[in-house]
Amino acid sequence: MPSHLSHLRMLEAESIHILREVAGEFARPVMLYSIGKDSSVMLRLAQKAFYPAKPPFPLLHIDTTYKFPEMTAFRDRICAELGFELIVHIPREAREDGVNPFKLGTQKCCAILKTKSLLDALAEGGFEAAIGGARREEEKSRAKERVYSFRDAHGQWDPKNQRPELWNLFNGRTDKGETIRIFPLSNWTELDIWEYIHLENIPVVPLYFAHERDMLVRDNLLIPFQQDVPLLPGESPARIICRFRSLGCRFCTGAVRSTATTVPEIIEELKGVRWSERQNRVIDLDTEGSMELKKREGYF
């Protein structure tokens, strides 16, 4: 009998343990579903954790309505196939007010469409625990996160005063209004995610694979061209073979030049890559420590 699990199976066992703790300890948890690769892995882990039953919590998607159409289509197809309950929260008021990154800048746009929407949706649903797919490897303030991240009544994270978290014993105690964010993928790297997608044959949004696309080249970033993106003077789209390493809103998600059209090709590409996966996320580049600031306000 092998005495040690492979690192992927070790990560899998750890994440399933976390998901079951959440189901066992909280009356009303919810799983944030963002349609991306990490969410896809999280769905598979949730499926495994509660098989043959369905996960005892709904999925929640904060739909800023600026997502790629491929993402929305994928979301609806997968959730229907799995038979999981899906709540889609659309910040209608903000959209009617015409909130967009061109008008307000990315920071404010994110604060309204993502952070505030998330807090609203959690309050509306009465959810006291929200499971998210954030990984510590992604970004320097996420590297400081606990698996169970305590948030005060305003959804705020206090990185200087986190609960000690020893072994696999999590403290999920909260008072009314306070919430816990749970990160079952804390210890996974981008490479682990893709290797697991390969191992388990998990479907992902086609945007992750290289294809010739209409793109705008802006400040060294490749921004997908759509009819509603205002063009800068003299700017015109170009056909570029590229893929997305990380998915968010269309306006703020850059692509990378790549020819990787399959999961094994992506894995090979990642082994030699010199740039982090969030380098093309416009929202991270606002100011130094911008993720930490957003998290303090209630972002994931």
Binding site: H7, A13, E14, K48, F50, A53, K140, K160, R173, T174
Partner: protein, 615 residues
């Protein structure tokens, strides 16, 4: 072979260069992305401050310190690594312990210009307490002392008394310069006198050892999965392994059943082992909730409501005795209180002293009572079932990390368990058949399992209780009756009495069976020729030469049992097989599965034998 995971932590005093070291390690193996490096370059005041790679919080960068654990990930072709870079300030000790609790190895930095500091000792000791068994002292800033061998060796000497406390631990020293990269990834040209590996090489070769010394199954039930008629008990295996068809003990109900299957989404696996997350379906219907435990029947965990533990106290306010705390242990959360503070550890000497208060960042030994029994092993034997945290039910804060070292008998509990266990094991057979050997081994096994057990060996009894008796038939009968009388008293009081005596006459043995009731007759059987050949005590030789009249088997009859509960053929089976036969019989014929009571004296002994003496 698929790569395996090694988790390590960095610790040491403030400014010993922990974050710089991690930064250097990641930088030199090219595990830092260009954009991250660019952001560090922008944030650095002069040049490239590698510490900023892990000090990611704004406050950390502003103050140039580490406040909380940062986790970083990297891999080499041989291994995947998870680093927990932990803070050096005493006020953030709780965060250091968070990082060390899951680590396989600890890197403790020592600034060569400052030597061994109180935090060095505290961190090494906490790492050791938390079960880290590979500690690497990195003597850092060697560049500041011109890479002198003598200075390095002096620092190694300073750790002498500290090292003595780290029993069972592999301790290693590497001279490094995190700033310059010497001996971090590449071996240094500056220190030709150091023949050892670089830090990275060393990390790649640390043997991965399992954190459990327990082979019996421990599966804390986290969640019950219901789908139609299906009931599945879900949890992460904390120790041991399980197969479909295995017998399991259900705690706290103490019922026994078999595993129907290990359920998985793809193919149901034949076998599952720690640390897999699994779902088991069982034969029969049982009332099992979150917090229950499925365990091996022949090697179950301890169960008690009074335990002894070491606490790392993490709250701002000191420990309050007799106040309610929540004890989170495996998947259980029970109310409890600390009833006694036994001692507190002095970080300078690492000795324990009686104390009246346990304050922030101190390590104490305490006695805890819980409202419901915990099912546990000692932390030394298994981290998962031996660890717990205390939560303040008012503030909701995690106030302490606990490691179970032993337990106290709890009156009601003990009564319920061990009265049922009381019985007499009567080993009969020719001289030199193997009675003493087997009965002693059975005694050891039962004692180690936590039973109250007593040995009545014929030879010993004859030097004490029966020293007035000879070897006539009447005296022999009297000898057996006295032994039977004592065995009966013990059995009635919940003790397992182990009798080892030739006891050649069937009628006398049957008389003892009738008197005692809970009587297990074990026929230790080997042919006379074999016994005579063994002649352990030289008695056959004496008897054959006529110097020992009425010797059983030679000139006095041995009447073998007609229907013994157990027969051990010592000429055909090994000692281990014979002992297993006895233990298996006991387990199978227990009116209720036997659960164990563990006494503190025993636990201390057990810890000492596991290389974890009392610090």
């Amino acid at each position: 072979m698929e790569p395996q995971l090694l988790r390590f932590t960095t610790a040491g005093s403030v400014d010993d260069g922990k974050s710089t070291l991690i930064g250097r390690l990641l930088h030199d193996i090219h595990a830092v992305y260009e954009d991250q490096l660019e952001s560090v370059r922008k944030a650095s005041r002069n040049g490239l401050d590698l510490a900023f790679l892990t000090d990611g919080l704004r406050a950390e960068r502003e103050q140039g310190i580490t406040i909380d654990v940062a986790y970083r990930y990297f891999s080499t072709p041989r291994r995947r690594f998870i680093i927990a870079d932990t803070p050096g300030h005493e006020q953030y000790t709780r965060n250091m312990a968070t990082g060390a609790s899951t680590a396989d190895a600890a890197l403790i930095l020592i600034d060569v210009t400052r030597g061994v500091l109180p935090q060095t000792r505290r961190h090494a000791y906490i790492s050791w307490l938390l079960g880290v068994r590979t500690i690497v002292f990195l003597v850092n800033k060697m560049d500041a002392v011109d890479y002198q061998q003598e200075v390095f060796e002096e620092i190694c000497r300073q750790t002498g008394t500290l090292r003595e406390k780290l029993t069972g631990c592999t301790v290693h020293f590497i001279p490094v310069s995190a700033l310059e990269g010497d001996n971090v990834v590449r071996r240094s040209d500056q220190m030709p006198w150091f023949a050892g590996e670089s830090l990275l090489e060393y990390l790649e070769n640390i043997p991965l050892v399992s954190s459990t010394g327990i082979s019996g199954l421990r599966l804390p039930v986290q969640y019950v999965i219901r789908a139609g008629e299906f009931r599945g008990y879900a949890g992460q295996i904390a120790a041991g392994s399980v197969r479909a068809g295995d017998e399991v003990l259900i705690l706290p109900s103490r019922q026994v059943t078999r595993v129907r299957s290990i359920c998985a989404m793809d193919i149901n696996p034949e076998v599952a082992y720690a640390p897999m997350s699994v779902t088991l379906s069982l034969e029969g219907h049982f009332d099992i909730d979150r917090g229950a435990m499925l365990a091996s029947r022949s090697n179950p965990p301890f169960a008690a409501q009074r335990i002894e533990a070491r606490l790392i106290w993490m709250a701002e306010s000191p420990l309050r005795l007799e106040q309610p705390y929540l004890v989170k242990h495996t998947a259980q959360r029970v109310c409890g209180q600390v009833t006694r503070l036994i001692s507190v550890c002095d970080v300078m000497t690492l000795e324990e002293h009686p104390a009246t208060e346990l304050r922030t960042n101190e390590i104490g030994r305490v006695e805890i009572e819980t409202h419901r029994p915990l099912f546990f092993d000692s932390y030394a034997d298994n981290h998962r079932t031996g660890s717990f945290v205390l939560i303040d039910p008012i503030s909701n804060h995690t106030v302490a990390a606990g490691m179970i070292t032993g337990s106290y008998e709890q009156k009601n509990f003990r009564k319920a368990e061990t009265v049922l266990a009381g019985r007499t094991l009567w080993f009969t057979g020719l001289s030199s058949a193997g009675k003493t050997t087997i009965s002693h081994a059975v005694y050891e096994r039962l004692w180690a399992m936590g039973y109250k057990v007593e040995l009545l060996d014929g030879d010993t009894v004859r030097t004490q209780l029966c020293k007035d008796l000879g070897f006539t038939e009447a005296d022999r009968n009297e000898n057996i009756r006295r032994i039977g009388f004592v065995a009966d008293l013990l059995t009635r009081n919940g003790v397992i009495a182990i009798v080892s005596a030739i006891s050649p006459y069937r009628a006398l043995r049957d008389e003892q069976r009738a008197r005692i009731g809970a009587f297990v007759e074990i026929y230790v059987n080997a042919p006379l020729e074999v016994c005579e050949k063994r002649d352990v005590k030289g008695l056959y030789c004496k008897a054959r030469s006529g110097n020992l009249p009425r010797f059983t088997g030679i000139d006095d009859p041995y009447e073998p049992p007609l229907d013994p509960e157990i027969e051990c053929r010592t000429d055909k089976e090994t000692l281990a097989e014979s002992v297993d036969k006895v233990i298996q019989y006991l387990l199978a014929h227990s009116p209720q599965p036997m659960t164990l009571v563990w006494q503190p004296e025993q636990s201390h002994l057990a810890l000492a034998s596991a290389g974890m003496g009392e610090p």
